[in-house]
Symmetry: C4
Subunit: 266 residues, 4 copies
């Protein structure tokens, strides 16, 4: 009984003082993310480095303590350790080892793991679950359209290589580079690092772009449809039920004098 | 009675001559916005500067007069002064002080306050209120998605820094710069000031971009759903009520001969 | 009777041979548009110029003949001349005058008028009318959002000028230039000719961009809602009517034995 | 009987072992697409070239065998050969001829044909068919808007040429170049290779851009409406039927004691 309460406090579901701990906890995650970001600014003064390192050490210590507390207090510790959130919690503690041995070359890329802490913030959100259901329903359509989009991207990448390779051998030097151009163009980002210059390349781009933007517009429509269906279904159900129920009551009231026996159902 | 009428005239809700005053008033705000904009064009001839300054002084004077009139005519002056629109009106008058003492360094940035006047134009718009209601309903989902978007932006900013820092140390010099890249890319603006050049950076961009654009497509779907729900609910309600009401009348007419006593409800 | 038929032939509504004339007519408009476009390519060979000029003369002659035919055959010629399509037809003939006097300086910009011919192709399209009705319904909301978008654009243009003018006095030299940046950024085109470089300018861009993109996403939602409402209203009406009608028939059949007198309404 | 089974195996619809063959088949297509892409990377080591060529030869051989098998096993071979998928299968085999005679100049562009294999993956997908129905319903509207978009693109291309040709004679040298700018701008890609610099050109861009983006937003709304209609129609039908059916049962149960004869319909 006692032990479960500690986990409730850490999760923010404890009736008395859990909410406060959870908010401090989540604030710490966000601040830690900002600290990781600020650390990388070049020409940072020495005191800032020291402060950020101290904060970093404090945050990681907190997570280690939390992880140990969760193992100790869990009803079934092994089940927690190998659960999805157990692994996330462990990964959040790993940077502790790196502070001891800072010279490792892999230190930089492992930092990314700390970001996974942020996923905790979404732990069991109701709005997210509702959307997940809507997405689950339209999974089939979304899959087909991801696939269609991949094909169009591939055709675009190959096509632009064929049309532009001779005119710009340095820029469109291979199909993988053409694919990068296709991705930058279809997402309509358009950095301007690569663009067709030949008339045939531009004509190909025009045709494939309008086709591809249509394909990209459809998933938005699909998600919208799924969300509206989930919501409107309830509305229609409730409305029809309510109205039809009213006339039912009216008709039965009118018929009441004719009945000799009381109806079984109220 | 007399005093309230002045406020009605200023608000444009007066039955007789309020509408005209309000239109002149709103036109003045828009013209003043244009004047602020034109003032900044370099190499403007002297007469233009003089004309714009005179117009500026006239507009600010109008707003000071309006603000004083509203205080004098208000039933509860203090309530107006500390209300939202009271503060907006006061801020709109502040540039009057700056004309007296033009050399202040802060003069430039305080100019922005004059733009707040424009907010007055939206004072009590019906279409806006309807949308606000739709937004209020889907606030939960929109919050979650703002949060999800923030996380993806953060991961994108950190990831691109890790992948591109070595190849382009000048361009991707820190995580905050990576975040700027992430914002420019996810909004699909793509200025072209920063873009990945390494194969792994480009692959990371591709994955994160398609994920992120999906997350950005969902809020549009949510707002659409909320708007449609508000509108369709009424349609369904009306339709079902009408149709069900008709059969109710029909059934009751048919049953009429059987009744000995008149029904209490018509 | 005879005269009206000629107009029907020109409009493509004649029962016998109108359709063919209208298709030739519309093809001529599209070909003329392509010819105008090709004319401007520099270093065009002489024979191409001659051919394009001859085609141009032929097209304009056709339109002059058509315009005169429409005036002669119209029941009320003056009503046609001053109607919307009458003026469009007259403007389409104007380039005829320019062929006579080619040296005019205004010749270039007046060419744009010929494009108005293309509007004829949309003459009385059913799908377009249906959309117009949907747009007309949501005119209020769309107006408010155009206005909101204008305000955000204005704030963005002024803000970026304040933040970036000192760092890039050449690029962000005035508020009108800031407004151009705002338009290029909010439409997510992002040419890359102007972009913020100071941290405060970038932070301002981030905040205003997410706010503004939300405002731009709403009109899409509004148009979708209007279109869905128009379509679904009919569906709901039909469905509810059908289903409720069925139970009506059932109930009345069951009640039939009780009736002494036939119901007045079938 | 025997022959049809072979085709079922190749199509992946065979009850016993068809699924496995189809998956290997589709995997081969995707891998072949990747191989084509990797082949083009410059400075590829010799062994990689050899490996990719061998894989290529293997894939094409597989397709030739499959094509022949399909002809032999088809009930009506000629009907298959001249069907849509028969032609696609034949085109997928063509690169076999090119391996024999590699020096042909057309070899590069004919490679694109191999991509058509990918279309096979979409063979008879249910989600795609459902979308096709939704698109078929709104074909009229989509056609009108493609047309409207084409007109606006044309006007934009001509307009920008008129406004910018004098200021940037090299960049906006002809209307076709203006059309390329219009396409890059309206799709909001914005590479940054061409952009207006004159105030009138920028003003024209602003007006035409907001108009054009609205036109492009409508097709998304139309597709969403078509999808929602298809889905919601069923929901409404089911809901109303269910609810009305329930009250029908209730009312008839209440009326049962009055009936002398059993109702004919249950």
């Amino acid at each position: 009984m006692r032990r479960e309460e500690y986990i409730q406090i850490l999760d923010g579901t404890h009736p008395d003082h859990g909410r406060g701990v959870a908010l401090v906890h989540q604030g710490l995650i966000v601040l830690s993310g900002l600290a990781i970001s600020l650390e990388t600014i070049p020409d940072l003064p020495g005191w800032a480095h020291t402060a950020l390192f101290a904060f970093e050490a404090f945050v990681v210590a907190t997570f280690v303590v939390e992880y140990l507390a969760r193992i100790i207090c869990a009803k079934r510790p092994f089940r927690y350790i190998f659960s999805f959130w157990g692994i996330i919690d462990l990964l959040a503690c790993l940077p502790a080892l790196l502070i001891v041995q800072q010279q490792w070359a892999a230190i930089r890329s492992l930092r990314l793991l700390r970001l996974i802490r942020l996923l905790k913030l979404l732990h069991a959100n109701r709005a997210l679950i509702r959307l997940e259901q809507a997405l689950a329903k339209s999974r089939g359509e979304l899959l087909v359209f991801s696939f269609l989009a991949a094909i169009i991207l591939y055709i675009a990448g190959v096509g632009i290589f064929i049309f532009e390779n001779e005119a710009q051998p340095e820029v469109f030097s291979s199909i993988p580079k053409g694919l990068w151009w296709a991705i930058v163009s279809f997402t309509t980002v358009g950095y301007g690092d690569m663009y067709p210059i030949t008339p045939e390349g531009r004509f190909f781009t025009t045709v494939i772009l309008f086709l591809g933007l249509g394909v990209i517009a459809v998933p938005t429509a699909i998600i919208t449809t799924a969300l509206i269906n989930t919501d409107l279904k309830e509305t229609i159900e409730r409305e029809v039920e309510e109205e039809v129920g009213e006339i039912e009551r009216e008709v039965r009231k009118d018929l009441a004098p004719f009945k000799r026996k009381p109806t079984r159902r109220s």
